[in-house]
Symmetry: C2
Subunit: 353 residues, 2 copies
C-alpha cells in the first residue's frame, strides 16, 4: 500500500527575480520551515564566496571595522522571535487595484533569529556625534527600472531603531545557519518593521550623518496616497496591526454543522489584546479565543467555534485590537504602490445542506 | 559559488482532498511534467495493491471480462496527445462570484497518454443491443455532503463517445507509467471533454441501458444557469474554446520598451484557427502568431511582439477563433457552480518609465 504525501507549496508570483508566497493557510507550527518561508527579491540571487566573507562597519565612526563570521560568533548572542512581513502583503486586495506582485495573505513568515545586536557592533566602531542613520547594504545587486547603472539593495534605519536591542545581525534561523535564500550568511533583522528593512546577504554597514537616498529608500517602499502625484508621500516603516482568517478559505463551500474559524493576528510589537470575529458581515461580533502565549514579535493564533451553521451565504470578518485599544480599520489606507494593507479581514463562504 | 535553483511550484487550493494548480505561467515545454500537473480530487487518495489489480468490464455485455495489466499491455496501443482541463478552471474569474475551489488559469495540463482504446475492450466484451452509456468507476471513494453513506468517483459517457477511437484506457503518461497521483495504474482519458470524465485509478467499466445517476454525473458537473433553482440545468461535457495570456502576468509593472505577449489557446478538438490580441482593452485587435504545429488535443502556443510601449496603464485581451469561425465570448456563461469559464482573457498591466 502506498501512502502519498500531500503537502502545500509556495505560491509562485514571479521567478525572475524569485518571488514566492508562503502557504500560510496550511501551516500549523509556530515557526515557518525555510521551504515554506516567503521569498521576495529585487534581483537574481547574489553569488557568494563565504570563505572570504567580511562584514564592514564604516562611515561616521571612530574605528571602522571588518568583522569575520568568527568574530561575530564570539560576541554575546541574542535570539529574537520575529515575524517578517513583506510591505506588499495582501496587495492583491486593494481597491482600486494597484500594480506589482499580487500578494495574497502569504507574504509573511516567522521564526527564531539568533545573532548579535547591531548596537554591539556600533559600540565597537564608536559612532561619532552627529550620526543620524545606519545604512545596511546587501550583496544582491542589479538593474532597476528608473535607476542608472546597477544598484545594490540597501536600506537605512534611524539611529534609534538601529540601536534597539532587538535589531540584530542574525546568523541563525531556528537554530541553524540562515538558509541561502533567506540571507546567508548574515541578515539584518529589524523586528516590528516591514521586511524590506531586514536586509539579506548583509555586506556593509555605514553610519551616516545624512538621510540615505537609495531608490529602495526614497522611491520604493514609500506610500504615495495620490494616484498621480507624489504629494503626501511618507516612508513605509512599522508593521501595521493586522489579522488573517486562515480557515475557512475564501469562497469555500462548507457542509452545514459546526466549524472552527481560525487565523492569526500580529502587530509591530507582537502584542494583540483581542480579536473580534463576525459571521454576518459585521452586524454582530464575538470575541475569539486568543492563544494566551504571545511570543516576542510572532503572530498570535486565534480561533472561534462556529456552531450549528445552517445553509446560506456568510461573510466572516476578523478584527484585531492591540494593547493601546486601536483596532484594524474597515478599509485599508490606499496608496499607489500597495503597501501596508491591513483592513479587517474578510472571507465569504457558502454553507450547503 | 552557489547557484540556487529557482523553480515554480503547484499553487495549493486545498489539501484535504488535494487540489493544486499547475504553474502554467512558467512552463515552457509542450508537455507538463508530473510534478507540475494540476491535481483535482474529490477524496483522499485510494490505497492500491497493484499486484491484485484487475479491470472489470461488465453490465449490458455478452462476455463480462476481467483484464489484468498484462492483458492490456498485450493489446494494440495508441498514443494520444491530450490536454486535461478541470471544468472549474478559471472559476475565480466569474462575476458574480461563485463558490468552490478558486482556480485561476492553471487547472490545465497536457501530455502524451498511451493505452488501449476503450472500444477494444467493449468489442471483446460484446456490447448488447440497447446499451446507451458506459459507466467508469475509480478506486477513489469517500463521503460526499448531500449523499448518504460513501460513494465512488464514477462518471458515464454516451456509447458514441466511449467508442471514439481517441477515448483510451491509459497506462502511460509521457512514455512512463502514470504517476500515482495522476491515476496509476489505469486512467480513462477522454480527449476533448473536461477532465472529470477522465476517471483516475480506474477499477470498473459498466455498460448500461440507462442513464447513470451518480452524484458526480447529475449533481456536480452540471451547469445551473439560475442562482436559486435547477431550471435549465445541463451537463458539463466538451471543453470550450479558450485562451490564456500567460505573460505578462495580471497587474504586472513593466518597463517601457518592447515586450512579448504570449499564451496558449485550446478547444475540444485541439484546432485553433486564429488568435487576436488587443493591448487597448478591445478597441483594436491584431492577429498574433500561432505555433503552426498543432499537436492532437494539445493547446497551441501563440505570441505577439508588443513594440515600443510607452508608460501608462494597458488592458491586454486575447481571443481565440476555432476552425468553424466561432470566437471566445466577451463574457463567460455564468452558472452557479462555476464551470466552463472561457471569456476573452484579460490582463491589466502598468508600464513605467
Amino acid at each position: 500500500m502506498r501512502t502519498p504525501s500531500v503537502r502545500p507549496f509556495l505560491t509562485t508570483r514571479g521567478l525572475v527575480p524569485e518571488n514566492q508566497e508562503s502557504p500560510v493557510h496550511y501551516i500549523i507550527p509556530e515557526t515557518t520551515e525555510p521551504r515554506f518561508h516567503f521569498r521576495r527579491n529585487h534581483f537574481a540571487y547574489p553569488s557568494l564566496s563565504p570563505l572570504s566573507y567580511w562584514l564592514q562597519v564604516e562611515g561616521h565612526v571612530e574605528n571602522p571595522l571588518w568583522f569575520s563570521l568568527q568574530d561575530l560568533l564570539a560576541l554575546p548572542a541574542v535570539t529574537v522571535p520575529a515575524l517578517l512581513e513583506c510591505a506588499g502583503n495582501k496587495r492583491g486586495l486593494f481597491e482600486p487595484v494597484v500594480y506589482g506582485e499580487q500578494w495574497e495573505k502569504g507574504a509573511i513568515s516567522q521564526g527564531y533569529w539568533t545573532g548579535v545586536p547591531l548596537k554591539t557592533l556600533l559600540e565597537k566602531a564608536v559612532v561619532k556625534e552627529g550620526a543620524a542613520e545606519v545604512v545596511t547594504i546587501g550583496m544582491d545587486r542589479g538593474k532597476r527600472p528608473g535607476t542608472e547603472g546597477s544598484v545594490s539593495f540597501a536600506r537605512s534605519l534611524p539611529l534609534e531603531k538601529a540601536t534597539h536591542e532587538d535589531t540584530i545581525i542574525a546568523y541563525a534561523y531556528n537554530d541553524r545557519s540562515i538558509p541561502f535564500k533567506m540571507g546567508y550568511p548574515l541578515r539584518l533583522i529589524v523586528p516590528g518593521w516591514y521586511a524590506m528593512a531586514s536586509v539579506k546577504w548583509l555586506r556593509q554597514i555605514r553610519v551616516s550623518e545624512e538621510s540615505f537616498t537609495g531608490p529602495y529608500q526614497t522611491e520604493d517602499y514609500v506610500c504615495y496616497p495620490d494616484k498621480d502625484s507624489d504629494e503626501g508621500a511618507f516612508p513605509v516603516t512599522e508593521i501595521k496591526l493586522d489579522s488573517s482568517i486562515l480557515q475557512p478559505m475564501q469562497r469555500a463551500i462548507l457542509p452545514s454543522g459546526s466549524h472552527t474559524i481560525h487565523g492569526i493576528a500580529w502587530s509591530s510589537t507582537g502584542v494583540i489584546a483581542r480579536i473580534y470575529v463576525s459571521t454576518d458581515g459585521g452586524t454582530s461580533w464575538s470575541e475569539a479565543e486568543l492563544d494566551p502565549e504571545q511570543v516576542g514579535y510572532h503572530w498570535t493564533r486565534w480561533s472561534m467555534e462556529w456552531l450549528d451553521v445552517q445553509p446560506g451565504n456568510y461573510t466572516i470578518l476578523s478584527k484585531a485590537v492591540d494593547a493601546s485599544g486601536a483596532a484594524q480599520p474597515e478599509t485599508a489606507f490606499w496608496n499607489r504602490n500597495g503597501y501596508g494593507y491591513n483592513a479587517v479581514d474578510r472571507v465569504e463562504v457558502k454553507v450547503e445542506e
